[in-house]
């Protein structure tokens, strides 16, 4: 998208608000919704990948050293990863901290 949504005038819209650029949902920063963020304690993490599997937004990625971290562009802070984590190594940290 050339312009962000908030820069578009009504004249800029496609007829019927058709989205003519396929796959552009990936540009949507759902991370804006987040009030808490997942933080991994690598002391307790066993690198099982359960958090990666359960993340509903595919917002968890594997790091070079085999641990996991959230892609904060997309992570909504839903906490499912923390809920599912077998060793309890994920803590949901308040964003203001």
């Amino acid at each position: 998208m050339a312009k962000s949504e908030l820069e578009l005038s009504w004249k800029d819209l496609e007829v019927g608000c058709v989205v003519s650029e396929p796959g552009n949902a990936s540009q949507y920063r759902t991370g804006d919704w987040r009030s808490v963020r997942p933080v991994w304690d690598t002391e307790k993490c066993i690198q099982c990948g359960v958090c990666y599997i359960f993340c509903p937004d595919m917002a968890i990625k594997k790091t070079q050293d085999g641990y996991f971290e959230a892609d904060l562009y997309y992570c909504k802070g839903c906490g499912i990863c923390a809920q599912e984590c077998i060793t309890g190594c994920i803590r949901m940290l308040e964003e203001e901290e």
């Binding site: 949504e5 908030l6 578009l8 005038s9 009504w10 004249k11 800029d12 819209l13 496609e14 007829v15 019927g16 608000c17 058709v18 989205v19 003519s20 396929p22």
Partner: protein
């Protein structure tokens, strides 16, 4: 020019849909629209019309299918009445927002309850603000002509909006009238092939019907409003071209004996011809009475309407629906708004009549004129309206 045949108006409308070479018909039968759907299903079954006839399980599905088929670029038709329109309501509002040029005939019937199958305009008035182009037909010939008109206007790339053709239930749908058919060559000349502005196709993927966040919703609505307003020149051109081709010129606002008229009736739909009879008789008595018929309802033809009633002292607005606890009928409330800033705004009396098919004769309209004359001697308040003929 085609031949003139005596035919039930519903069947004529279905034949017109066939001549428009529609691709998809998705509809659910409901009185008094049934004959249109039945005839179209026969035409498809008999191989006379090469189209998909989709016998859906409800009107909600009918309009949903129409949105899908229109989105892939198929010429799409449906029709319904009353409760059917109510059931498809959710999708009725979505079609214009997605700019899908579906053509729908609404065989006007009252909304329940009490349960009723007869004609009035409570169904169409329930979707007044749905964003479709809406107009009224007065007789069988108009209904036939306006099927072609509807496809041409709706599918015009500058418009790309659904269009609702109102046709009074029973009064039009179930009567046999002499109707001049168009020949196929004329249809071809008048109605180009459907080339959608956007089309769902795997070669060029697009998203239709995505959600709109608060940051874009207002702009989306402004664009939709403007699209409906901008459809008017296309509508006028389609009427002009039809006149040049078949000799019948239609206008957004029709007038009858308005020259020197101090009082005019305002009507929509099939009651117009009965009102004209009353106007004839009142004129014969030397009363300066005329008639204005509103054909185009959305976009509202402000300019033509104001021009038509300029200099008129009083208006008798006929409504076929009730706005409960409101300012009178929906048409009168619209008319008052349209004239609010005019100099010498006429007095407006509002009669609600012909609900659920109750007969209103020329004598009744003459009685409304008499009543209006009496009211003119007192002060007529804006919110006053009369439910004509109700037993006290």
């Amino acid at each position: 020019m085609g031949e003139r045949v005596g035919i039930e108006v519903s069947l004529a409308a279905a034949e017109a849909v066939k001549m428009a070479n529609v691709d998809v018909v998705a509809a659910y039968p409901i009185t008094p629209q049934t004959h249109i759907v039945e005839h179209l299903s026969e035409l498809v079954a008999d191989g006379e019309l090469d189209a998909e006839f989709i016998p859906v399980e409800s009107e909600h599905s009918a309009m949903s299918v129409c949105c899908g088929s229109s989105a892939v670029g198929a010429r799409t038709f449906t029709c319904t009445s009353s409760q059917g329109l109510a059931l498809m309501n959710e999708i009725v509002f979505i079609a214009p927002a997605m700019r899908l040029p579906i053509v729908m005939i609404l065989a006007n019937r009252s909304l329940s309850g009490p349960l009723s199958i007869w004609n009035d305009h409570t169904d169409v008035m329930s979707v007044r603000d749905c964003g479709w182009i809406q107009f009224f037909t007065e007789n069988g010939q108009e209904a036939f002509d306006h099927v072609m008109f509807s496809f041409r206007v709706a599918e015009n790339p500058a418009v790309s909006l659904p269009i609702m053709m109102n046709m009074d239930g029973f009064v039009l749908t179930h009567v046999i009238e002499p109707i001049e058919f168009w020949d196929q060559e004329t249809v071809k000349q008048y109605l180009p092939d459907f080339e959608p502005v956007n089309r769902l196709h795997p070669d060029n993927p697009v998203t239709m019907g995505a959600f709109g966040l608060p940051g874009i919703f207002t702009e989306a609505k402004k664009a939709q409003d403007q699209a409906l307003i901008n459809s008017k020149p296309v509508i006028l051109k389609a009427w002009k071209d039809m006149g040049d081709l078949v000799g019948r010129y239609y206008k957004p606002v029709e007038t009858y004996h308005v020259e020197g008229a101090e009082t005019v009736f305002l009507s929509m739909g099939s009651v117009g011809e009965t009102v004209s009879l009353a106007v004839d008789q009142l004129r014969a008595q030397g009363k300066p009475v005329g008639q204005v018929k509103l054909r185009l309802w959305r976009p509202f033809p402000f300019e033509e309407f104001r021009e038509a009633v300029r200099g008129v002292k009083q208006m008798i607005v006929i409504d076929r629906a009730i706005t409960y606890g409101g300012v009178g009928g929906p048409v009168a409330s619209e008319i008052r708004s349209a004239l609010y800033l005019e100099e010498n705004m006429p007095t407006i009396t509002n009669f609600l009549c012909g609900l659920a098919g109750r007969d209103v004769t020329a004598e009744d309209y003459m009685a409304m004129f008499e009543k209006t004359e009496q009211m003119a001697k007192g002060k007529v308040r804006q919110e006053d309206y009369i439910i004509y003929g109700v037993r006290e």
